[in-house]
Amino acid sequence: MIVPLISIILLCPLAAFAVFGLFSLANRRFPRQDYLSTVAMLAALVCSFLLLREVVPTPEPHTVNWISLGGVTFSMGFYLDSVTVIMLIVVTLVSSLVHIFSMGYMHGDPRYPRFFAYLSLFSFSMLFLVVSDNLLGIYIGWELVGLCSYLLIGFWFEKDSAANACKKAFLTTRVGDVGMFIGMMMLFTKFQTLSLYGEGGIFAQAAAQLSTADMVWLSIAGVLIFCGAIGKSAQMPLHTWLPDAMEGPTPVSALIHAATMVAAGVYLTARMFPILTETSSLVIAYVGGITAIIAATIAIVRFDIKRVLAYSTISQLGYMMLAIGAGSYVAGLFHLTTHAFFKALLFLGSGSVIHAFHAMHAHAHDDEHEHAHEHEHGDHDAPGHEHGEDSDSGHILGSEIPPDQDMRNMGGLRRKMPITFVTMLIATLSISGVPFIFSGFWSKDKILAGVLERAMEWNSVHHYLLFVMTLLAAGITAFYMFRLIFMTFFGEPRNQEMHEMAHESPLSMTVPLIVLAILSFPVVNTLWFNKDYVKPPPQPHLHAPQHAYLAPDSKTGGQSVALSLFGVSEAVAAEEEGGHDTHADDGHHGHGPAHTIAMVLSIIVAGSGIFLSWLFYHRRTLSAESVATTFRPIYNLFWHKYYFDEFYDGVLVALTVWKSRLFAQFDGSVVDGIVNGVGTVTRDILAAFVGIFDNRVVDGLVNRVAQVTWAIGGKVRRIQTGAIQTYLFVVLAGIVLLILIFRAL
């Protein structure tokens, strides 16, 4: 049943796209592309749920040979384990809801059917990536989702900012993909296959053949493959494309740039889990950790509601990377799924808010097109924008944010849009890690506990540092998410005119919000709490470090260091003594000391983040402006997004442009000079000689032949008398002559 079910899952969205393509060839439109795509997605969703029962503890890949080149055969196939099936459900579920949401959100767009066709193509690509059992298939899906991302970010390509953003996204991720391809080729040259699973797969071969001498090589390959994930999952330093990708329609941001495609990087890293070494794990964890913090701090100062969510996404993806790098396989993927739901919900909610304001604009500007009006604004984060020195109050940039996405125009919306408010609040509580009743708390807690446990077990200063990063990012996350909620839904409306016009969104938009809100509770994520359902694969190349970093004598020493580091009382330590010897089987520990500490600390940081946010943005006992003025350099750093864009713009882009100019000049003077010189020599000297030769010799010969023929013809024509009887006589005479000759012979 596995293969037919997976085939249906893949073919449904592909067929929906193919219908669009075939109709386009005939210059027509399928009448209800939106229904077609949505139904295809729902069918895939049903099949994904049916697959839940097909998962076996030790799955085998289902493959067919695809291409044989010399002695090497590339196979294509499916691999279905518990992670695959969960990813399938997440992708199809979020995709279906986004389809439904888009029917409301994109209504009236001139390219409405095309939007759904692209969504279908994207869903197919993403599902293909998820079920592939080999790196080649993953790579194909990988590039396809990149293409769809490009098409959908640039969906409103009339806007310059959208056109620039899609190019930026495509090129930036390409940088990572090159690294990924090199990593794949490294594995290929070593193992002569790109299949991951099964007898001759990379994992089996790596476990069997590689010695400790190969670890450096394997680390490099792992990090290179992770480069692809850096690009796709918008990790530092290739994260700059994701905020700009918000130029796309909001449902796209929810589906591609929050829930699925950007999570593909995490999924790939998780798939590579068995060949990660200490070094590559650490690189992954650090990249994730640094990304989580940097993106979270940038999110604090954004005013564009979608960009806050974009940076939040980057930050959360960093979290997942960190989890996988720190060995918390299950926790990382758990957070991937919970994040997919609540972040999709946040994006759709923001879309609902934007839609409410959009409608106002459409009304105010009569029948002007939705995005035609956006065209006037846009260009907020487009590269090359110089922000003024004193932009800390944000007013200079204010004009660049579309007014319907600017949180400073919102406020008090909770009465106007109750459903959007409640659902977004649930998602915010979930992402902030409000304890016990929200899924985000459990997944985040699992990550924190996993990292801390690894730190205690290995006595590794790196992992303690990573743990601090996670905590810090968690606190900041809670802060900026509640900042968003307070600015948008609480307080007094700041723009009275806009507020008057705002309204709750239609049913097609609120229903997906409600469904996603339900999914933000842990009740529906029970699979992850089942210890036997998702098991981390073994990591044969990962060994605990030989020397302990902090306390070389015992683990207890390390633990006490940890406890004093985080200011937890000795009593807790004593109470949990002896619990730390549980092997780090990836978050499947019960309530070890690490777990308790992590839980307590995460509640504390989340609570303080929310409290601060409340003080700043609701009670207004603290003024954000005054704090910004006090810590102006830091504020500027956050405001300018750590100058990443400026750096890329000022160094990489400028360097490329300068190089191009140089080459252009070289082309213009040297290359063109040579070409023109050769041209002149040829025309004026060679061609003259050849011309004379042609005119005299060749033409002369031809003319002479013609003259001779003409002269002979003039003589011979006399034979042709036109009298039939003469001809006959000649014929008869000829025959008589022939007879006489043959007789004589």
């Binding site: 011979v716 024509r717 006399r718 034979i719 042709q720 008398t721 036109g722 009298a723 039939i724 009887q725 006959l728 006589f729 008869l732």
Partner: protein, 102 residues
């Protein structure tokens, strides 16, 4: 009557035919010459068939009959061509129709 008799008569017919075709100044007379030639051929076929092959083999005679049919069809085409030529040139004298003269 031996084969020689037939062949001699056939040869005489053929010669008359050729003479008519080469010398007559009237297209109709040329046609008559051609008919003579054809009939001399038919006569040869019949004669050879009679004298040179077993009595049950009559293929030569049959070819002669086909030849007669052919001659009739050919005469029709020839007359049609003559009519067309007459319309074009106002004459049916072959020496006056010399458009193909080089």
């Amino acid at each position: 009557m031996t084969l020689q008799h037939y062949l001699v008569i056939s040869a005489i017919l053929f010669t008359f035919g050729i003479f008519a075709v080469l010398t007559r100044r009237n297209a109709i007379s040329i046609l008559m010459g051609i008919e003579l030639i054809l009939n001399s051929c038919n006569l040869n076929f019949a004669a050879f068939s009679r004298f040179m092959t077993p009595p049950e083999d009559i293929s030569g005679q049959i070819i002669a009959i086909f030849g007669i049919v052919l001659a009739a069809a050919e005469a029709a085409v020839f007359l049609a061509i003559i009519l067309a030529i007459y319309r074009e040139f106002g004459s049916i004298r072959p020496d006056e129709v010399d458009t193909l003269k080089g």
